[in-house]
Symmetry: C2
Subunit: 198 residues, 2 copies
């Protein structure tokens, strides 16, 4: 291709990102060419910083620039509840809700025999350790509502039950603002099964 080398290298870098093909990568690279110097310097620096300064919290496994993370350090949070999620992005989704004030535990994945991911590949051992040390009364299993998430939830619930901690799972049902007509059969059957009395 007939690009000067610096720009073809930048196009290659953009193409490594998900959902960005050659055309978009070219458009972004040429856009960078016309961006303000400061913005490009900040962009370049923040890429390095994300890789250099971020780590996983040694307690809950959330990404953080301080260890333990700001959630684990927060004295105002309820230390008796732990919400178990698959991914750090799920913690952020939960935090955006602004209603949950308990702690988290990030598994970094879900059990998936198809992909060769077994129980020893996810962050479960530290969860069991936490249950022994801390005064945790309830575990909310907030893994994804799909096969991998469900089987991970089942696995953890069997591990945790002997310890005598209360285990809950996020409710299934119709999404708020959704349309009955477009709900799939499984969701609808769950919505009927877990119907609540008014």
């Amino acid at each position: 291709m007939h690009y000067p080398e610096p720009i073809s290298k930048l196009i290659d870098s953009f193409m490594k990102l998900p959902g960005i093909g050659p055309k978009t990568a070219q458009r972004l690279a040429f856009y960078v060419l016309n961006m303000k110097e400061d913005d490009v310097v900040n962009f370049s620096r923040s890429l390095m910083e994300v890789k250099r300064d971020l780590q996983f919290c040694s307690v809950c496994g959330h990404i953080t620039d301080i260890d333990p993370c700001y959630i684990c350090q927060d004295k105002n949070r309820d230390r008796s509840i732990v919400c178990v999620v698959q991914d750090t992005k799920d913690v952020i989704a939960m935090e955006k809700m602004r209603e949950y004030r308990g702690m988290y535990h990030v598994l970094h994945g879900a059990i998936s025999p198809m992909d060769g991911i077994g129980p020893e590949d996810i962050n479960v051992a530290t969860l069991i350790e936490r249950l022994k040390d801390e005064q945790i009364k309830e575990i909310i299993l907030a893994t994804n509502p799909n096969i991998e998430g469900e089987s991970t939830a089942m696995y953890i619930s069997r591990l945790v039950k002997p310890i005598g901690v209360k285990i809950t799972r996020l409710a299934h049902g119709l999404p708020v603002g959704g349309d009955l007509e477009y709900a799939d059969e499984v969701t609808l059957s769950k919505a009927i099964e877990y119907r609540t009395e008014l």
Copy 2:
């Protein structure tokens, strides 16, 4: 928001790019978190290099890391033809075709009174200089086939005619592989007007 600072800075940087909103920026930033160290370092470095090492060719105005650019330096190209384009990306589009072996001149814009862009805001003066110095026999006006591009082509052709250089414009007509049914009226009328004998 509840992101650690390095990641929220990276999300802000991604959001400065065109067509990337908060959701995509978040997805990309978290993807970077899991990218290989080398790839991130290269990405960061190429961002800086694009800004630091690239400049506009002093002859034709194309972006380049050497001055004059590789096209202007190429001894095998036909120096008697200059293709005038609006943007550096147009040079790359022409080069991908692999058929044109002449020189280029990049205007870096088009005359657009609506946007306050007049003839003095585009790279025309150096084109006139080139016509005096070099042995140019033909100018191909390859500005975009819209109002701004057409008026820029008209303006340049009036400037250049007194110098006595041949001036051509890219052909209008049906795009190859296109469908007559979906062609707009103006394109179709041009295709009729410039019909060729078989």
